[in-house]
Each structure stands twice: as C-alpha cells, then as structure tokens.
Amino acid sequence: MLEKTKNIARQILEEKKASAVFGLMRNEWNIIQPHLFEDPAGLANLVLEPKWLLAKLAMRILRSSPENYKLAVICRGCDERALIELIKRNQIEKENLLTIGIACSQEQAAICLCDRPYPEKLDAGEKVSGVDPFQDERVRKFLIGNDKERMKRWADMLKRCIKCYGCRNSCPICICEPCKLEDDVWVQRGVVPAETITFHLIRAFHLSDTCVACGACQEACPVNIPLLYLQLGMRKTLREKYGYEAGLDPETKSPVLSSAFEKPDTDREFPDWINSLREEDES
C-alpha cells in the first residue's frame, strides 16, 4: 500500500499534475509530521501511519496559496469526506485538489468507530468493512439508559471541559471566523468549565449535517470527552430519514437546508398533436 501510494504520488509530481503532495513524513530521527512533498526524491520519507487528519491543514494551505496552486492530498476516508464538505462549502476550489485515497485497516476502523473506513476514490489499499458504532460497547455506555442517567453521564463528561477550543480548532469543517462559540451572546466568556449546554451542544449541532465522523475533535480533547458520540444519533437520523450522509459528493446539499419540495418528472412524453392540429388550422 505504501509503495503504491508513493508511486502514485511520484507520478503526480513528475507529470506536474499538482504542485505538491501533502502527506506524512518520517525524518532521519524518525520523527513523524505533516509535510509538503515537492520533489519526487523526498517521497522516500513518506509514511501513512499513524492516522493523522490532514484535511484542515490541506484546506489552509490551499487558501493561502495562489489561484492556480494545485495540491494532492493523501487522505483516508474521513479526510476525503471532509475535503468534499469543504468543497461543498466553497472553501476549496474543486479543480485545485487531487486526492490519493488510502484505505484504513480494520483495527483503525474499530478504534475510530468508522462506518466508512475508506475513501470513495480509493487508490491504494484494500477496502475493509466499516463498524456499526451503535454496536460498540464504548458508545452504548453513553447512549443506553433513561434520560436521567444519560444526562448525568454526559453532564459529568462535558463538565470536564477546559475550554481549549481544541474540538473546534481541529475540526475540518469548522471554518467560521468569527465563531459563535466566542460570542458571549451564546457562550459565556472566560469561565472553565465552558457552559456545557451552549458550548458543546451548539458546537455539536452546527456540525449535525456536516460532521464526517473523523473523530478529530475527540482525538484533540485533552480531557477525553467522547465528542464524536454526540454526532452519532443525528448522523443516524439523517441517513435513515433522508438517506443523506455528509461528504459523499460535492453536489448533494444537506436535506436539513431545503424545504423538501418535489419537482415533477419533466421527461413525461405526450404525443404532441395539439401543435399539429394548430398547424392544420392555420393552413
């Protein structure tokens, strides 16, 4: 998988399809970090593990670079979905972005509770089946029980918040500047823990129909709040009620935004005699 990815990346660079390839690099002191590969030789240091979400970094790079700058991103399923959401939200020019899709391992999928551990455009690696988060013990622990128990459980969890904004900063979809979380109309400023209901639920709900379940928020949380679980319920509803899933293709907008109004099927064919009749009449 690694070799294949390297080859694809090398090809892209050699054929000048993109100005640079964005991925993970391991340097001579085997320190791993994100890196822009600009010459094919550098690709020797390319690595794919660990799971390191690059979508937001890639977006920032593209935003701060000239119009024609093309970037190839080595991305996992969640990265790709995030990038697609960003295209949808006009943050990235579609044509400036290439993706090199790599599949996640079964273990990784299990860790992330990922129901789609592979990109739509898969270039390297084998698709593995996703896991159903609702079958997972960790999740069930938070979702079972009556309101009272769940409330207690979540309140205790969220009260740990130290308001580092890491969940927001690391979220690939959170692009607003200014952000409502910094507005004291909605969230009281300068107190720790952050106001639980407002800070966390506003954040969670703003992502309701755009969350790609990459888990960046959860990984960035210093106090181990399972923020991803907040989204699962809403993602489920969207999938079951409207058959919508965020980040699958740039065209479909979220159903929550439209006032679902069915248009007639225009391709109904009628024998168009009425006009011929007219013709006859005029003659």
Partner: protein
C-alpha cells in the same frame, strides 16, 4: 447603551386592575438606561399620541418602548402614528402586557406584575440592539409582458391596454386564441367560441398599445421585480423585451390517452379535442356516441380532477341528443363534477335532454367491444349492479388538461414555483395569482385547468394585480410584502465574516441569496427585491453573519437572558 423612554399604558383599568404599576415603576427606575417612565391611561387616542411625542421630544431618549396591548390590537396603530410623527420604526419597541399578560393572568396579579416586569425588561434589552436594515428601490419599467395569447392572456392584455399600459403579448403559435380557437361552443351558455374570442382578437389587432409576437419562445429571463428583461426567439430571430411585470398565461394542453380504450388504433375512438374539431369542420357524424369520463384522470398517475371535462361532455352530449333525432347518447362517468349553480343547472338540462348517465368504478372501467371498429361498450353499472352492453358508433374519451412540457423550464427561468403535476402554482393560497417572484403573475389554465370564462376572469384579475405595480414609478424593496403589513426588513450579510458556505443559498425559499467570489473568497449576496425576511437564512448561517437587523440574534439572546 441607548437612552430609552418607557410608556406604560393602563388602558383605562384593563391592565392596571391586574398589574401593579407602582411595582413596575420601581423596578424600571433601577435600570440606568431608562430615562423616562410615563404611566398613562391610554396611548391610542389622537390626543395621547401628541402628548407622547412631546414627552419623547423633551426627554433625551433615543428609543421608545411602549408597554400596552398587542400589535394585533391597537398597538400597531400607536407605532404607525408615532412613525407619522417622525420617530423611526426601529427605534420603537412594543411590549404586549394586555393580551400577553394582564388578561390571561387576571387571577394572579402578583405573578402577572412580575411577568410584566420581565416582559418589559425583555423589550428594553431587545430595543437596545434593534437596528434598521437598508432598503433599495428600482424604477418600474412601464410595460407589461404577457406570455400566451389564450383567453387568459388576451383578457389580461385587453384590460392592461385599456388601463393605458403598453403590453407585449407573446404567443407560441402563429395566431392568438389558444385552445378556444379549436372548439366550437363554450359551456355553460353554449355560446359560439368565436364570438367569445372575437372582441379580444379585435383588441389585439386594433389597440396600438398591444404588440403581438406570434411564433415566439422565451429563451432566458433577467432582472427582478419591476424591471425584467426577457430574451426570446421571435420567428427564429433572437429578440428581447423589457417589462415591469410578467403575466404567465401559457395555458395547458389536452391529454392524449394513447393505448386506453384502443385510442390511437381504433378509428371511432376519439377524444374531446378531436370531437370538437370534427364538429367544427362538420365532419362529425354519429347517432350513438358514448362519452367516457375521467380517462387518464383521477388515477394514481394524475390524481387531480381536471374540472372541465364533465361540462364539456355534457355540452357535446346534449348537443347530439338535441340536434340528431333518435340519437341515443351515453355518458359513462365516475361521478359528474358540476359545482356552482350554473353548472348544476347545465347538468339537469342535459338529463332532461335524454342523455343517459351510467356510473362506473375506477376498478371496473368500461370495456370496448370490436377490434378495428367499436360496435359496443360493456360497462358495469355501479349503481344498479348490472353489466350493460351499449351499442355505439363513436366512443369519445374525456381526458384531463395536463401542463405543457416546458412549464418547468419556464418556471426555472422566471424563478416561480410549479406544483407537483407541473402546473404553475402560487406559493401561498391566500394570494392565488401571485408567485414566488413579485411582479410575475399566473392566470388561466397555466395554474389550473379552468373554463374559458374563468381564464378570462383570472386574466383580468392578474392584469389588475399587475397595474398595482406598473402604476408606481419607483418600487421599494421594503414594500414588497405579499402578506398584510410591512416586511420586517431584509437579511443583511457582513461580508468580512461571511464564510461563503452557501447554507443561506440552499435554505432561502425565495432564492434571494447567491454566492459571489470577491477578491479570492466567496461571500453571500442578498437580493433585497426577492428577500421576504423570513429568516431561513439566519437560522442556518453557521456564524450569525446573516442577520435581520430588526430581529437580530443579539436581541433574541438578550431577551432570553432577561426572560425570567
């Protein structure tokens, strides 16, 4: 912090017999931003208004809060008269402490007073942040454009021209008249169609204000309310027209039921349109016609009733029964639809003229007997429960009107709605001729199958609606409110903080927002002429950049904080 003067209305005891005004005064005096507390018996009489205004002038207050009855009572009147006196709309706040408090908590004065206090505090908090949205106005182009020269279009054209406006009348075919040209007589008065059409056709010919464009097809539409530019091909040449209003009168067309009852294969199975044609050119000869109703209508595919087929059948059937001696005429129906007194009479007359009616069920449709020529029709009489075999020499199928194929494309060009079948539709039942875009009206069978009379009626109505736009030289966005009362404002974007995510575009029910690329980043632009200030965009805007200044999020937030 704006200085606010508060006016508390006792409403001659209606309010203060429940609410303790001394308590209110005491509480309000704690608020530093309140510079004047005036408790009065009434606010809504002329004398009161003068007093109020003078008091406002004296006090150095920037904004006015009125605590009285609700906007739906005389509250609005007070606001309006204050505005007449020169107080700006966004500097007036109204708190409803009568309907909203005194009258529903009469049994508990203490709580009522507390609630009144809270409500007033909410009002003050909101008023502090209340802002005024910017407005724009366009010069109205004095011409009208009418699409379709059927009865509706013609009627509209005539009325507009007679009111003195230039009218451009576009028609797809070579001559005006629409479907009315294709039929002999009209129900219910059995008048000759040409007579009905005549005056309008003459008007089109003679009235210099009306320009007729035959064989033209619309290609694209630009502009907004009051100033549309319509590009169209006129006799294969591209051309364009500017217009202040557009009336859509494209009509509908008859459904050709290929395959049903051997239609298309068997010679003596025809539909109403062909029946009309034959009777026009005198080629019609039949003694035993059988009319079958609801062919291809009121079924799964087309659940609606086309409303005009029954009267048409009655018209044609009675005509045969009367004109041709010894004729036996049958109408096989699924319930005759003849609403209104005239049509009901029409039905009874037909009955007395000897036409026989048989009711069948959708599950058991009539069966035609004969392979290349129909000798008889077999039908199960749902009322008597007897299966009858009817000798016939002509089977006439009553088919519904269906929308034109290009309705949807046209609707997209004009940015108006079509219903689920493809007819043009109003967006709110209370305003039947108006569409999503102000200044574009629909009438006649384009919006629903109707008789020629109704088409003409609607055409005239639409014309009058159009006049209400055309007669103004300039038209302000803030007045474009279809619903009674003024619009509350327009959505406003702060370009600096707009992320260009496009939620507003997706959510706006009036397509008022669109995304534009300005110096390298996308931002949302609001078209005030289209914006109706419903706030759909506000609630989906991820960072509150999109706001309605008269009802912005700060107001809501502060009100919530003050609520209890």
């Amino acid at each position: 912090m704006a200085n606010i003067s508060v006016f508390l209305c006792k409403c001659f005891g209606e309010i203060d017999n429940t609410i303790n005004f001394d308590f209110l005064r005491e509480e309000l005096s704690k608020d530093p931003s309140v510079v004047l507390i005036s408790i009065v018996d009434s606010l809504c009489l002329e004398t009161d208004i003068e007093k109020t205004v003078s008091q406002i002038r004296e006090s150095n207050s920037d904004k006015v809060l009125i605590a009285a009855c609700s906007t739906l009572s005389r509250g609005n009147l007070v606001i309006e008269s204050l505005i007449k006196e020169g107080v700006e709309r966004h500097k007036i706040g109204l708190v409803d402490i009568r309907e909203g408090c005194a009258w529903i908590h009469g049994d508990n004065p203490e709580d009522a007073s507390k609630k009144a206090k809270d409500l007033i505090n909410m009002g003050i908090a909101a008023l502090q942040h209340k802002d005024m949205s910017d407005d724009m106005s366009v010069t109205v182009h004095p011409n009208a454009l009418i699409i379709g020269a059927g009865p509706a279009g013609l009627a509209a054209a005539m009325s507009l021209a007679r009111t003195g406006f230039k009218v451009n009348l576009l028609e797809r075919s070579k001559v005006p008249g629409g479907m009315l040209k294709l039929i002999s007589r009209c129900y219910p008065d059995n008048d000759d169609a040409s007579n009905k059409l005549g005056p309008y056709l003459r008007e089109v010919e003679n009235n210099p204000l009306i320009t007729f464009y035959p064989q033209s097809k619309i290609t694209s539409v630009e502009g907004d309310t009051g100033n549309f530019t319509v590009h169209f091909s006129f006799q294969e040449k591209d051309s364009f027209i500017q217009a202040g209003v557009i009336i859509v009168a494209t009509g509908a067309k008859i459904f050709f039921p290929t395959g049903l009852y051997g239609y298309g294969e068997i010679k003596n199975v025809i539909n109403q349109m062909e029946f009309e044609r034959q009777s026009l050119n005198g080629s019609l000869e039949t003694k035993k016609p059988v009319f079958i109703q609801c062919v291809g209508a009121r079924n799964r595919e087309r659940p609606y009733c086309s409303t005009i087929c029954c009267p048409i059948s009655l018209k044609n059937a009675s005509r045969i029964a009367e004109d041709i001696p010894g004729a036996s005429v049958f109408i096989l129906h699924r319930g005759i639809m003849t609403p209104g007194n005239t049509l009901e009479k029409y039905y009874r007359d037909t009955l007395s003229s000897g036409v026989q009616f048989i009711r069948f069920e959708e599950e058991q449709p009539p069966r035609i007997i004969g392979s290349d020529y129909v000798e008889a029709v077999e039908v199960y009489d749902a009322i008597t429960g007897i299966t009858r075999k009817i000798e016939t020499d002509l089977v006439v199928l009553s088919t519904p009107l269906v929308p034109n194929n290009d309705n949807v494309q046209l609707a997209e060009m004009l940015d108006i709605e079509v219903d689920r079948y493809g007819f043009f539709s109003e967006i709110y039942p209370m305003h039947p001729l108006e569409t999503k875009t102000d200044g574009i009206f629909i009438c006649g069978s384009a919006r629903w199958p109707v008789s020629s009379d109704h088409s003409i009626l609607q055409g005239k109505a639409a014309a009058m609606k159009a006049v209400s736009y055309l007669r103004q030289s300039k038209i302000a966005a803030s007045t474009l409110s279809r619903v009674p009362g003024l619009k509350s404002g327009h959505a406003r974007v702060v370009p600096e903080s707009c992320t260009g995510c496009g939620n507003c575009v997706a959510a706006c029910p009036f397509d008022a927002c669109h995304i534009e690329k300005l110096e390298g980043r996308y931002i949302s632009i609001v078209n005030m002429m289209k914006c109706k200030a419903c706030g759909s965009c506000v609630s989906v805007c991820p960072n509150g950049t999109m706001q309605i200044p008269e009802h912005n999020y700060r107001m809501v937030g502060e009100m919530i904080k003050m609520a209890f």
